[in-house]
């Protein structure tokens, strides 16, 4: 039972991060490998707003969320829109370079110590009992926010006009532009949403375990989950996260704790060999570069 709870919490983390990968890929066919760093940026954003708005934790949270959204849009307009004509490899490398830049910049701005934004917010991470298992308050918040985010995104993409336009732009950017849909706006929105969800994940993880520079690795580990599910499917991201999280937790528990870093990649490799477009992805031509 405890294992199941752990799996759910880990899967929520991965799912929140994956949703960023999927959004950006689906809409602009670019794989953003800077997501781990953007996640950490969100967490540092919370740390910054928590100290700024100490005493008003809800405002700090909201401000951090808005900041993450703004940073995503800014990243698009500062860098990614220039790469829209280039090859996909160049765009991916640009995201990698951006990640490196952000990592260096964050250490320069915030130092290398571990921070605890939860304390700054004035809250404590209590632990709750669910049946025979324990779950931390933040863990519960993670699961809830994943559900909310995915539900919200599903509603947005299916029911609102701009969501439909986003799906359209992801499918045929040329045709979308012909129908008056401004592609730059759509891409910027995708980046903003992706950074928001990634930042949310980063904030919650930081509240749970403390904020330090190794947070980035979680972003990289979430990437196989996105691929396993299919890079352009949100449902796939959920399922992929569950699969990878389950494998990781089970293997850590029963086999070897050191496996945690490599398990997602083994699953990724197996998936690429068997079904490269993932469980729910659209079977596209696999040569985007």
């Amino acid at each position: 039972m405890q294992l199941a709870v752990n799996i759910l919490v880990l899967a929520s983390i991965y799912a929140l991060i994956c949703c960023g990968y999927v959004l950006i890929y689906r809409v602009s066919r670019v794989l953003s490998l800077a997501h781990g760093e953007l996640m950490m940026l969100g967490a540092y954003g919370l740390y910054a707003t928590a100290s700024l708005f100490s005493g008003h934790p809800l405002i700090a949270l909201a401000a951090a969320g808005a900041l993450a959204l703004a940073v995503g849009v800014a990243v698009y307009f500062a860098l990614m829109w220039r790469m829209t004509g280039e090859s996909v490899l160049a765009a991916v490398l640009a995201t990698i370079a951006l990640g490196i830049l952000l990592r260096g910049a964050m250490i320069l701005m915030f130092g290398t110590q571990t921070q605890h934004p939860l304390r700054d917010l004035g809250w404590t991470n209590g632990s709750l009992e669910v049946g025979a298992a324990r779950i931390s308050a933040v863990g519960l918040a993670l699961i809830l926010s994943t559900a909310l985010v995915y539900g919200g995104l599903a509603l947005f993409l299916r029911a609102t006009r701009w969501g439909i336009r986003m799906r359209a732009a992801g499918q045929h950017p040329l045709l979308a532009a012909q129908r008056g849909i401004g592609l730059h706006g759509i891409y910027a929105l995708a980046w903003g949403l992706a950074t928001f969800t990634g930042g949310l994940a980063g904030m919650l993880i930081a509240c749970d375990a403390g904020l330090e520079s190794t947070l980035v690795i979680i972003g990289l580990k979430a990437f196989p989950a996105a691929l396993v599910g299919g890079l352009d499917s949100l449902v796939g991201a959920l399922v992929g996260s569950l699969v990878v999280a389950a494998a990781e937790v089970v293997l850590i528990h029963y086999v070897d704790p050191l496996l945690s870093d490599v398990v997602p990649f083994v699953i990724l490799l197996a998936m690429l060999v068997v079904r490269p477009w993932g469980l729910f992805g659209t079977r596209e031509e696999l040569d985007r570069v």
Binding site: R167, L175, G180
Partner: protein, 277 residues
Amino acid sequence: MILLKVEKLEVVYHRVITAVQGISLEVPQGAIVTLIGNNGAGKTTTLRALSGFLGLDDARVTEGAIVYRGERIENRAPHRIARLGVALVPERSKVFESLSVEENLLAVVPRRATKFDRELVYQFFPALVPLRRRAAGYLSGGERQMLAIGAALACSPELLLIDELSQGLSPVLVQELMERLKTIRAESGVYSSGRAECAGGARRRRLRLRDGERPHRARRHARAPARASGHPGVLSRNRRRRPRKAAQLPRREAVPQEPALVWLSSCSSPFRFPSAA
């Protein structure tokens, strides 16, 4: 008034390949203009230049001008041109396959300050009504074409460009589509025609593209008898200089109410035109 005027257009791909050169044409409001030519003559390139779709193929308008309502629009971003009132129905990938028919129509961003009732599309194309929730990828060729035209109309354009209207469709279907479009035009001022022989009706012009060239000509005001000889509209790929025959076609009187749309179509099947409209 002249809605669209193209002057000595030259489009170059990848900085080295000249696709079209010296194209000039005028489209007055309410006219139907057909661009006819063989493969490789430059029809699609011209249409793409008109709707702003060159950048993605590393093509540029290197000379000449495209003037729409007095504004130069060459090399502009496609969605801006769409918002000015030019809508293109492309040859391939004309609908969003994974979206339903209804969503395809919702996705369109209409021109500012215009209203276009989506129900009108369903009135023009009643065959689409039972297909509202179906994913566009599952539609047949004719239904797809109807949806594509409907989506283009949903932009409330003033200039509708259709590339290869009749491609892949059976003649019966094309005929039906023509009739629909005649109704549309009569009701809201849209006219479109696919094959040259179907470009019957009010005013139409046929412009030939020969190997990407169309010499600049003066406006044709006078009525001239249609030439029955030869292929007035057919383009051949050979490079021998042949004397160019003007496609002089009879024109009817102007329709009193100015229609809101004008269109340009290209069709590549060579065949004889009826000598009278």
